[in-house]
Symmetry: C2
Subunit: 396 residues, 2 copies
């Protein structure tokens, strides 16, 4: 392949992703959905303008790592500690119920295949995809309704942050099991070892950055070295602990999230992500999704998968909120607010594909989940709040 072909691919992807992203926003859907549809349109399935290539998948991989690094940077570790046991309980239950439900659903549909061991981990991975809440749509909806700072809103926010950390731990454990020769115990030890390693190295690196940040605030070296740290952690996770690179990237972000300059680093990463790496990642998911594979069984699976995914969060988060003393109406709102899925579900799915734990045909199901949850969540939230207003119930 001539090098300049990558310029054509990038140009087509950027234009298609931007236009489809804007169209999606016009329809009140997340622009990520537009980006994926752009990938589908220009890919082998429809127009065949761009074919998947090594280069694109490497760029997409960098994109994923950048997105997870940004997610780590954005998370507020002080908020996690402060938010208390209720949010932790809601988040934990909202991770466990979808994990179990997703695993069971997959086994129900595809459990009769013969490669038993891999199958179970494939099922676990489907469950894992369902664990991570994407709170951005909910935040927008709550802000519009004027209830973002209420009791329900803050609980959702805190639970969504903790949810990310728990989701990463689950992903790390499951992806460590990719190799049939490793035992759960070994993966657990590796995961624990990596978290300890990250804590120790992270503390040292954090002190170095804090010093640099104080001495040279807002200089170019801060984001460049932060990116290098993120890349190094991603590499170390994969190469020495057999753990997903995105875990390393997320922890790198978490380590640096308490820096004074964290928003500055995040902004620079964000520009890199949205200008080139992000569109390439989301479009490459569309490129590698084969809609032609969609048989009637997969269609049925997708339908049930979406329903189960949404209900699992309502039951998991809402149920636990009820047990924690929220009233019925509040619990339902918390459950609905947590049911939206987004980028992280795709990142996990992509990881599963790379590890050989997920068939690319299930991308379609994940994309449908993101699409439908993005449409349903804000509508349901609005209905619930309006019903309360009619009944004259005001939030504490």
């Amino acid at each position: 392949m001539e090098t300049y072909v990558i310029f054509r691919d990038i140009a087509i992807i950027l234009v298609a992703a931007k236009f489809c992203g804007l169209a999606a926003r016009q329809l009140h859907m997340p622009s990520v959905v537009g980006n994926i549809i752009a990938g589908l349109l220009i890919g082998p399935c429809v127009l065949n303008f761009v074919q998947p290539s090594d280069f694109l998948s490497q760029m997409a991989e960098i994109g994923v790592v950048l997105l997870m690094f940004t997610a780590g940077l954005e998370s507020d570790t002080k908020e996690i500690i402060r938010s208390g046991p209720k949010a932790l309980a809601v988040a934990a239950s909202g991770v466990i119920v979808p994990l179990v439900a997703g695993t069971a659903l997959f086994l129900l549909f595809y459990g009769q295949a013969d490669t038993q061991r891999n199958l179970f981990y494939e099922a676990l991975f489907i469950g894992c995809i369902l664990t991570a809440t994407s709170v951005s749509i909910t935040v927008e909806a709550l802000r519009e309704l004027g209830h973002l700072k209420g009791k329900v809103g803050t609980t959702i926010m805190s639970a969504a942050i903790i949810d990310d950390v728990l989701g990463i731990i689950v992903l790390t454990l499951i992806s460590g099991l990719k190799d049939p020769n490793t035992s759960i115990l070994m993966v657990g030890v590796n995961t624990l070892a990596f978290f300890v390693f990250s804590a120790v190295v992270g503390y040292i690196i954090f002190r170095c950055f804090k010093w640099m940040d104080a001495k040279y605030p807002h200089t170019r070296r801060v984001p460049i070295l932060a990116l290098a740290f993120c890349m190094a952690m991603s590499y170390v996770a994969e190469a020495y602990f057999g753990i997903a690179d995105i875990t390393g990237a997320y922890l790198a972000g978490l380590v640096l999230s308490n820096l004074h300059d964290a928003p500055y680093i995040e902004r620079k990463m964000d520009i890199n992500a949205y200008i080139i790496f992000g569109p390439l990642f989301f479009a490459s998911i569309g490129l590698s999704t084969d809609v032609g594979d969609m048989d009637s069984k997969l269609m049925l699976f997708t339908l049930v998968f979406v329903v189960v995914a949404l209900l699992a969060k309502i039951v998991g988060c809402g149920g636990m909120a009820r047990l924690c003393g929220f009233n019925g109406s509040e619990s339902l709102k918390i459950g609905v607010g947590m049911m939206n899925r987004g980028e992280v579900a795709l990142i996990v799915a992509q990881k599963g594909l790379a590890l050989g734990l997920l068939n690319s045909m299930f991308f379609t199901s994940v994309i449908m989940l993101i699409l439908i949850s993005a449409i349903v969540t804000p509508i349901l939230l609005k209905v619930l709040y309006q019903r309360d207003e009619r009944l004259g119930i005001t939030e504490e």
Copy 2:
């Protein structure tokens, strides 16, 4: 190669490039020099931490295109038109003299080889490397001396801008000759055709961007679509006109440089360039430079090459300035101010390597030229201005 190895490579390159870049700045040298030395240090020549790979060369290629796009965006086409015939004459003479001198020098040293045709174009390419002035060091030096806004300073600035355009035309013509089956006439027609194509398409795209810029100023779509335009122009140049991709990127930048939001686009591109693509490009030059190849002939060539390169600009630009009515002292300052070389020389050299028109061993010569001109230019300028002050000469 496992995908995660790219994370290790990127991490090592970013850290090494940043530290060497900072060290270079401490020694009052351009940080680009530090980046290249970083590549040398971590590459196969010394520590062998990172090996050249397809992925790195593709990232470097994107880096080059981004740098040229930014150069185009930064250039002030109104200034080019306004600056008048004197600056144009100085620039043109400052392109022709080094081109001829460089070509002659190479033929003198390596003219006895038998592959005659290729040899002449190799020689032309060496000349071409010498054409582009890098004005950043001069600007810094003049600003420090308080003479940036004087007659000499503005002439240097205008000539350096025109110099870029002329250099690109020369490069385009020469690189079009890579194929022994093409005639000079065909290359000329192709080059002209591409410039006409760029003017027509550029005008349409410019109108579209102007409309978008007015309707949605400072939105993400502006830089994203600008980057897509740059990539598309790079591809079209190579694929349909047989012209260097960097010509397309530079013209794309030139087209968009008159937008109201041009500085906004430039800032976003700049962040992408300095955070990841730039360091990867400069370090990859170090990676692919083989110092082991340095025999005594090459050392002698390098020495003469540097001297000729510096003198050619003094003679070309200074001489023409004298002919245009500047006095002797002013002409000398203009010549000295124009003699600094930088990124563009490297970009051209990299292009020559990719086209098979340049042996990688000459990278060493180009790097030495950048290094030495960066050290000598500010010192000489200071000496010249101080002498004038002692003699009581003040600039108009």
